[in-house]
Point group: C4
Amino acid sequence: MGKNRLETFSDGVLAIIITIMVLEMKVPHGAEFAALNPLLPVFLSYVLSFVYLAIYWNNHHHMLHATQRVTGTILWANLHLLFWLSLFPFVTGWIGENHFAPAPMALYGVVLLMAAIAYLVLQRAIIVSQGVDSLLAKAVRRDLKGKLSPVLYGAGILLAFLEPRIAAAIYVFVALIWLVPDRRIERVLGENET
Amino acid sequence: MGKNRLETFSDGVLAIIITIMVLEMKVPHGAEFAALNPLLPVFLSYVLSFVYLAIYWNNHHHMLHATQRVTGTILWANLHLLFWLSLFPFVTGWIGENHFAPAPMALYGVVLLMAAIAYLVLQRAIIVSQGVDSLLAKAVRRDLKGKLSPVLYGAGILLAFLEPRIAAAIYVFVALIWLVPDRRIERVLGENET
Amino acid sequence: MGKNRLETFSDGVLAIIITIMVLEMKVPHGAEFAALNPLLPVFLSYVLSFVYLAIYWNNHHHMLHATQRVTGTILWANLHLLFWLSLFPFVTGWIGENHFAPAPMALYGVVLLMAAIAYLVLQRAIIVSQGVDSLLAKAVRRDLKGKLSPVLYGAGILLAFLEPRIAAAIYVFVALIWLVPDRRIERVLGENET
Amino acid sequence: MGKNRLETFSDGVLAIIITIMVLEMKVPHGAEFAALNPLLPVFLSYVLSFVYLAIYWNNHHHMLHATQRVTGTILWANLHLLFWLSLFPFVTGWIGENHFAPAPMALYGVVLLMAAIAYLVLQRAIIVSQGVDSLLAKAVRRDLKGKLSPVLYGAGILLAFLEPRIAAAIYVFVALIWLVPDRRIERVLGENET
């Protein structure tokens, strides 16, 4: 009931967020490759945020796939997640323009942290609505990545003030452990079909 | 007949409106947290408008769910609603940049008012087309929130010239009473299924 | 076969075009209503273009509804139409910023003309593919509006150099005669169902 | 399983990329046609990129149509393709603003090359998942255009430093040979239905 439209709207918002981030890479006036040098940090921050948003889209895709019924709580938990994701272009531009300075790196971590919490809240809302024996509940039973990520983001936020490169390393690391798509849900869905 | 495409297009427009609003938060040049201070009112206005557009999407979602047939009148009433919603990024940027000054706050209220009227017109067009015994007609029989909101927006517009903070309080209050999703339609749909 | 995706993509492009036009209304720095005065022509041009794009979406919606099969030719004729529609934000901004001066008004007419021709080409491609006895072929048999519009746009382009206000009147007039949704197709579809 | 959402998201991203490119054509301040002269190269680069993105959408449409099952690998191969396509607005703006200078033309070719490779990777991922006897595998057996294009892009990148006009000619030429929609897949699908 209405799941289709929830997906369409989320896909639309995510597609726009992921695409307007590229507008932060302002076209340089010079015509030589050297004119691109100041854009390198902006480009790197774009790649990192693209990967993060792609991970969110991917996992969102799997999570909704294991959802049968959409309630008002799920709709709002989803909008809450989209709100934090919508701040990605802003913080991405800020870290890119300031070459990964401490304050921008910490704020980037705050947005990552809030999005991760919003994702967990959405997951919980879906499980509550579908029942603890639902596919999703089984799939995320030992949600190690989901529980570890907020802790790592928190560490990144604090360490950004000490040495922003450590924060950068942590954010890249978390992205890498998530790049593996959520095979847990795929596995449980597979078992169920058998 | 064609309801699907009406939803897809509305979702697309709403997704874009909600997302390009964030472009009004221009990335600051400084790299300290103090550089974010001038952006605080812009951020607050973004949050308010995000919540309003989320409410519209949510209620639109419920209203269309209770709609069986799409007519030419419904198509145009929907486009009329989208027109007023498309002015949100502009007025949101204006109140944000001018720290909630009287004129911008009044104009923000005008856009809220026109969108609310456009929503009621769309609701009426759907009820006329579906019949007074339709699910939607039953669901909105005592549409207290829908009737009260325009009155409150009108008060907000007038009071903005006296003290814009009162207008702000009214706009936040109306958003809060709408944050409760439209359980009326959910309830009537539930009854009907029984 | 694939009609769904053609509609989704067209809806996406149209939704974005209609929404990014609003970005041409730059948020003014002043906080009084007088600061909005220079934006009035930009707002008027936005309203006109919004109505035109809404008409295109509406008629596109009806035309595709009467289409059974999508061929390669239809895909490209559709992309060709979207190309001309994508120039709306540019010409809309140009007439708005220059208070409806002759050259911008003429170019606006050129884009209107090219979009109208592209629409007729798409209509022809669909009729060729569906057969002359198809619903669409019957519906547009006496396509008076479709044939008259390009002539009126042509007149508007020429008269823009004499007096741009005449061109403006013509463009508004054509929009008004199209605002009536394409009841011909609705009627023929209705007959068919009987 | 999930193919629908993959298409919706890709359509959304492609629709946005193709549309925000037009924002690179900044509205000129002058009101005469002469004010458009500096925009001519930007317009030409917009046309070229519009055609390329339209080709990608078209072929993507056909390829997905011949796909039955979506795996995690396909999801990521698709996101990888969208990443390279998302750089189109940037390189399009760069070649347009610098009148097709050598370095921008070479970088444009690099993005074309990477997108072409990403497309082949996606095609391979789909074939691996669907089996070598699948419709798609049959359709692209002698994928001359797919194999030739990267070679031509490579030549364009190198020749851009010698004479950017040769690179431009090559990029236009490749676009032209792809403008013919992928009739191979249509043909094989047609045979299969028989």
